[in-house]
Amino acid sequence: MATTLRTKTKKTKAAASSSPAKWVGQPIRRKEEDRLVRGKGIFVDDQKLMGMLHIRFVRSSYGHAKITRLDVSKAAALPGVVCTLTGAEVKSMVKPFIEIGPDAGQKIADYPMAVDKVVFQGEPVAAVVAETRLIAEDAAELVEVEYEPLPPVLTAEEALKDASLVHPEMGTNRNWHGVFEYGNIEKAFQQAAHVVHIGRLHFHRFSSTPLENNAVIAVWDSRSERIEYWSNNSFPSFAAQFLSPALGVGIDQILMKSFDIGGGFGIKITNYPYMAVCALASRKTGGRPIKWAETRTEHMQASAHGNERTFFDTRVALDKNGVITAIDSRHVDDCGAYPRYEPLGCVIWAQVLPGAYRVKNVRIDVNQVVTNKCPVGPNRGYSRMQQLWFIERILDICGHTLGVSNDEMRLRNYIRKEEMPYTTPNGCVYDSGDYAGMLALGKKLIGWDDWKKKQAAARKEGRWIGMGIGSTLDSGTNNFGQAQIINNFAPFSGQSKAANVKLDIYGEVVVSLGSVPQGQGHETTAAQVVADVLGISPDLVKVKPGFDTEQNVYTGHTGTYASQFAVTGLSAIHGAAVKLCNEISRLAAWALKGKEKDLEFAIGAQGPEVRDRRTKKSINYWGLANLVNVNNAGMPETLWDVTLNCRHVYHAPFQVPDVKRKYGNLTLTYAAQIHVAVIEVDRETFQPKILAYACVDDCGRTINPRIVEGQVHGCTAHGIGAALMENCAYDSDGNLMASTFSDYTPITAMNMPDLLYGHMESPSPFSYNGAKGMGEGGAAPVHTVCAALQDALYSSGVIIDDSHNTGDSIFRALQRAGSGGFASMVRVEHPRPSR
């Protein structure tokens, strides 16, 4: 499907007018596929440097304990060991990491290694550095550590009590607190026809399971006083801002590079503590390169988990038609042992405060606590999915309680297509979307009405079949200004991305990005955009993705996160390509002795060229590049500013939010995912079986439908895995019970239903190309699966109060329901009974 590029600035006319979109919108094969499928990707662990050493961490087996003895002497004595590092030593070499949060949070001393006590299982307490990975592993076993266990803090409730403190220097476990209140709550409750009270809801901890674990190589070069990093960190400019003050080096002395990355989903953003230790080890060994390649168990225990959230005392006001008029609730987010990206999650959920719904009066009291669990990191759908799940639970619980079907409940409450762009109670602007239309498509795909009949028949036979809907927003292109709601001294806001497009000396079209793709296909979509601007084809465009402080462009926001590349990255690339196009045009007009308006961009016998329509004369890209770079005598002074090397920085149009009112636009675009599922819970094994599953997505104008569909499939698998299988559960001593794949059971093909896929396009009015960021998917299946389970089991007295549901938990919920557990979960009042 061809899309017309809509450009805003006058300058772009010359370029865009000659080239209607030909490549953007096409499902072309990914440029990077060939390389990756043939095993030619370059991953950190593939790199071998001269004199490289290997680091191995010794990790705490306790969740919370004092270190009473630590002896590395036997390890240090093992032949092949070059040095060791202990927490005490690390403390003497670095400053604690900066803290984003205000108040109590500022008092946390977050060192990259435990100093005198450990606060989560898997926290490093020492490291050994050796000539080979094998020796390092042998040596790590020789490190002797003794602990004195302390009472672990493992749940939101316990943490709030402050009986045992994770960080005594904080004086509390409460890392952040704020109240988000909009509209007139009390009035809404007074006027309500129904008030539904809902007991404790819980969004569980899960993570992502990238094929490639964390990995880094660090070189601290004592001559240049520079630290060079090859890593798979997915937000290197953020990591550098944490590493620089901790290591006491200027940010210009930290060089970051990344190559191919085998998945990330956000949780590789917070691997910077390990990067810090690797640099220290390099310094201690006189500048030898240090490689760390994490094992899977290390990854499960001590990289990052997604945020866990508990929702207390929820009250929902509804009018007599089941339209929700107010929500009042108390949320406690658990960020694990250290707030390493937090407490940003305490505001990021507010990007989707009302979900897909029109509710105007909302009050949410937010606390974030630290616990003796793995620190959290921004996990795909970060912080928004918890809120969306909460809102979707409300919809289903209220719907069932009031006898309104779950599709009807949504239709009555959805924000309407005509209301777009829609301003939410907290000032976010939903750019476009047609949720009711998406639901209609989803219902059609799955055969909703047929299933309704089958469901009714099956119920008569005593079978538990549920039909569920999940309405999910994937808010993209975040405004860092929301950090100021968390801490009004936070020196960041807005959003920007940089790109460079040039003709190289022989006329090659080369794009460099600072983006850090982990499977999102940036090389392909970047090439599609540039090909359209220049009127060439994507295989003639070379794209150099990956962060590279020295060779690629970047801003302080550069990274791959927050569903945004299609907007921010491509806008930067488009801007740079248009600049290049204008330069080419000026240069060609001079070279061909013609006028710019007569020129056209095309592919000739010798590759890409510029032609004069009137004279039929042409000059190819090699000729143009030659004129500027190696054959430039005689060029008129008016063309001396032409470099054919064009940088463009895209700035998203944001304001700093009103910090006091917690009000403002927090994200630029809102892609949507409406999923519909039919699930049967087996009456004997209690296992949920997905009988049918439909996903409908809308991410505005699509750049490459193939990539979009791939992302939808990936998100769906991730979410089904999270809903039914994957759980970072801890036992009461603080041991992670899922530290291997045998216990964590990431989803496999054997668990996946066939997916029905539908697609709609509501172009964003806020991006040059009408695109919206996508790819996080907001954990759509978690909401959808829970909705279907709720529908299946409501009549048996079960309230789905957790985002993780297994045959076992359903079995136990049914037992509880039998003993009256339901009544304590949901209570309805009718303050103004409808007559």
């Binding site: 209690f686 949920p688 794949f741 496999t748 054997m750």
Partner: protein
């Protein structure tokens, strides 16, 4: 994830393997498919000082149809068995082999290694206990035949002597009017089951149960023969009532533990359900029907 250092030895015959086990001492181990041993070594939970590779011993992976028996060489891979034409009359073996772990593990892991490992969650033990199975074991004193019922002593413990190996697994073909089924519930492909049930039923001319074996997997230290459940069916008409009784008895026989796969109570309920279904499928197969069965997974 590196194993402790070890030496590697390649045995050309079973005799040589037992000799090497003797020479290389207490800490030497044979390696077959390596699908239990290598993960344990990488996690350093097993630290053998010497490995004796038996994969190059000729003909040790053969599957033979031998009159009234099917004989599986110890090195027969799970995938070899899954694909073998010789198990056509014993569908329970296909149910079992086709769902063990994932395809990579099935291509490497062996029946002999699986039995010798005696993992409480191993699929083969439960399955083979429902059939007339014996093991040919070879040791320094020569060969002996061990009945399957006598083979397992405890979790990870068998009657094999330290220098003794499984050479062959011999399964007597069930009678014509006999049918079996193995059902296991797994969370995902690459993990052991949460609970499993193996049932082999022989019907008599009047369609009543002539004989039956019911074995539960993953819910005890070894696979559990549910003898009371069998008694609920033996010599009786197989109907809803007797099946329900057998399932209840199976629930009682299970001795599960709480773990990441599920709570003990849940696992009891699960195996009871699996027993009930396996009986149904076994009966249909005994009557000559073709029924697909095997492992089930979360979600579908």
């Amino acid at each position: 994830m590196y194993a402790h250092p070890f030496t590697y030895h390649r045995a050309q015959s079973l005799g040589e393997a037992t000799k090497l086990l003797h020479q290389l001492g207490e800490e030497s181990r044979v390696i077959a498919g390596g699908q239990s041993l290598i993960p344990l070594m990488k996690m350093r939970l097993a630290r053998p000082t010497a490995l004796i590779d038996i994969n190059f011993i000729p003909r040790l992976s053969e599957i033979k149809d031998h009159n009234s028996e099917v004989r599986f060489g110890a090195l027969a891979r799970h995938a070899d068995i899954e694909m073998s034409e010789h198990i056509a009359g014993i569908p329970i073996l296909h149910d079992c082999a086709s769902g063990i772990a994932d395809v990579q593990v099935r291509n490497q892991g062996t029946i002999g290694g699986s039995l010798a490992e005696a993992d409480p969650s191993g699929d083969w033990a439960a399955t083979l206990l429902t059939l007339e199975t014996s093991l040919v074991c070879a040791g320094p004193q020569g060969e002996r035949l061990v009945q399957m019922d006598d083979f397992f002593k405890d979790a990870y413990t068998t009657v094999l002597g330290r220098e003794e190996l499984v050479r062959e697994v011999v399964v007597t073909k069930p009678a014509k009017n006999s049918g079996g089924a193995y059902l296991a519930f797994k969370r995902s492909a690459c993990v052991y089951a949460t609970g499993s049930a193996a049932v082999q039923i022989t019907l008599d001319a009047k369609d009543t149960c002539k004989d039956v074996r019911i074995v539960l997997g993953c819910v005890g230290l070894t696979a559990i023969r549910a003898k009371q459940a069998e008694a609920e069916l033996r010599t009786k008409k197989i109907d809803e009532r007797t099946i329900a009784r057998a399932a209840d008895a199976a629930r009682e026989a299970a001795e599960p533990q709480n773990d990441m796969r599920g709570s003990a109570d849940y696992k009891r309920a699960l195996v009871a359900a699996l027993v009930k279904r396996a009986i149904g499928i076994a009966v249909r197969r005994a009557r000559g029907e073709h029924v697909e069965a095997g492992h089930e997974y979360v979600g579908r």
